[in-house]
Subunit: 370 residues, 2 copies
């Protein structure tokens, strides 16, 4: 389902939007007050197969950076997340759930430790900058919080490494998963991380200096032409199959990280202090009453899930599907869902009430989907 | 300019979206992670003339409420804005710029004083809830901060009062501008304010309880049929002509309230304490170097302004246009712009470099446009 999106300065264009439009983008969504391409010709399904075999260029500038630097930067960042950051090293990317005083998720950014007292939170769709500013002002922390001119361009897919090695040299092959290094681009040093919002491998170039956007896009594009490069974007089929969650879709402030299966990113041993520690430890101790699961379900290709769909066992509502799409590989619909404890075991039979009015038989699955 | 908007749960539907779609909406934008209708048939120009004569129903649910209540609520709200709130009364709406520690605008909500220790900030497009939470957590304030299930439906235009009097009784005529009272709707008490994002007069119903959305829309619609009611939305022509500013478009964190002409909402006498007081008073003392102005400019109907357009005097850039559209009443293009001090007097000749590559002669104008 798509409809017209009216443009204005408030819906920010990115350093790559000109190129994205030339490349034939068919639709956008808005993340962090910025355009995120969501569809190219010919279809999401075609993009899916291509992403699994080749290499794609994604404008993910909307992953804005919240830079926190200064004497209290480490203290503030640790306070914002239940993840123990005491061993974090410069050059590392860390997935860090952020929670409020009740344990509810505020965002799930990737943290980049740029220097010992300088961090970037590469954020999902909520104004973490304002939250961090509020905390720093309220607590009197000595930090500087800003949104630098940094716009990630993702190179995703199995051929991404070969492509970037041809551009930036063989040394980029030694960058580990969720690690970053710097490469030279037109005389500037640019941060290159092995990361990205797919399970097909790849890198993200955190381009500093918007004016280089078109040049970077063109350079990567030309280097990829022999590899069948295409423009792309986070692919809903691949994301759901891979069990990659989306803030605002599969988790909101109504959810704790424990419900999203992020317990491994929470210092539940009480070793560090963070906002929401007491409620989170209490919930961990009691056990969660619902948790995220996959659902495989029947019938023709399902519509877009723009409001949660009830998941039923008999006449009892046991959960909700929050993202869903037809999987051309599994030949069934796949969904991400929040499911009550008594019904979350893989193999549980359920009924999905999709928004087209259909009742669809389904089954609970572990994540990622096989 | 519009393009496809891809839907998902993250781009929240409103209690009125079903009705808005049935009414033939042609496009949306996204504000506070929620759909805001932006165009109906036949055109923005047609909507403009209709709004000035009749009455329209606007889904402005995206004006989310940030509820702040508790013993420290008054203290927190006053800390967030330079406006002196010491005389604010229950039943009052107040336009309150929010600024950060540097004096930069974070939002420009309408504050509703619901009870002595309970407020709603009816916000523009930034996550004020997270900012308020950050401040409260950081400073240890005793408050509860939440987003209640409240979705404003605006009734705008010169016939709005007659329409609502026919529905809710003659007493609504005595509600003053930027005041609110409660009306009965299907046995529930609903907040009705004389306010709205147009200069044509009207009200906003702050509907509590999403499940009543379609019923409220239908009820107002039926009462308005004899008055030539139409679905509508904030109208760009009317907004610019009326000098109504838009956060994210005409002002950002790069601007102080003084640059936006909001000095009258700032206690520059030092009588209250607020975040950013010192830098704001310093700027007020020195005088601003740029300020918001209108620009009337020539040529055919201008394109959408999705990145700021330079405003030139000779070879010197003296400002930027941030919102612009063709005015069918003034037979010229009208724009809102940030203009340097030496060039901001009404009557100053300028050249506008619009994004279609045209150089257009223009003239600085006071706001609102005549």
């Amino acid at each position: 389902m798509s409809s017209g999106l009216n443009m204005s300065r408030r819906i920010r264009r990115t350093p790559y939007t000109d190129r994205v439009e030339t490349a034939g983008v068919r639709g956008f969504t808005v993340v962090n007050h910025m355009l995120l391409p969501k569809a190219y010709q010919p279809s999401v399904e075609d993009d899916y197969w291509h992403l699994r075999e080749h290499v794609q260029l994604w404008d993910v500038s909307c992953q804005r950076q919240v830079e926190i630097k200064g004497p209290d930067a480490t203290k503030l960042v640790q306070w914002m997340t239940p993840r123990n950051l005491s061993h974090a090293k410069v050059g590392q990317c860390l997935y860090v759930p952020l929670i409020d005083e009740c344990g509810g998720l505020i965002n799930d950014p990737v943290l980049l430790k740029i220097e010992e007292d300088r961090y970037w939170l590469s954020i999902a769709d909520s104004d973490v900058l304002l939250y961090a500013k509020g905390l720093a002002i309220g607590a009197g922390f000595e930090v500087n919080i800003s949104e630098p001119d940094v716009s990630p361009l993702a190179v995703q897919g199995p051929k991404a490494e070969d492509l970037l090695a041809s551009l930036f040299g063989e040394s980029i092959r030694s960058i580990g998963f969720f690690r970053f290094a710097y490469v030279d681009f037109l005389g500037t040093q640019q941060l290159l991380a092995r990361s990205g919002y797919s399970r097909q491998g790849g890198f993200e170039i955190y381009l500093k200096n918007s004016s280089l956007g078109s040049a970077l896009w063109d350079t990567v594009w030309q280097a990829g032409e022999s590899m069948n490069i295409r423009p792309g974007c986070p692919n809903l089929i691949e994301r759901i199959e891979g069990g990659l969650f989306s803030y605002g879709n599969d988790m909101t402030r109504e959810n704790t990280p424990l419900e999203i299966g992020l317990g491994k990113y929470c210092a539940l041993d009480g070793s560090v202090n963070f906002i929401g520690k007491e409620p989170l430890l209490k919930i961990a101790n009691e056990g969660v009453s619902r948790e995220i699961r996959g659902v495989l379900f029947d019938g023709e290709a399902c519509p877009t899930c723009s409001t949660p769909w009830p998941v039923m066992v008999g006449s009892r509502k046991v959960g909700e599907i929050t993202s869903a799409i037809w999987s051309p590989r599994l030949h069934r619909n796949v969904g991400l869902s929040m499911i009550d404890r008594d019904y979350w075991d893989a193999g549980q039979d359920v009924m999905v009430l999709s928004s087209d009015g259909n009742r669809r038989t389904g089954i609970i699955s572990d994540l990622p989907f096989a």
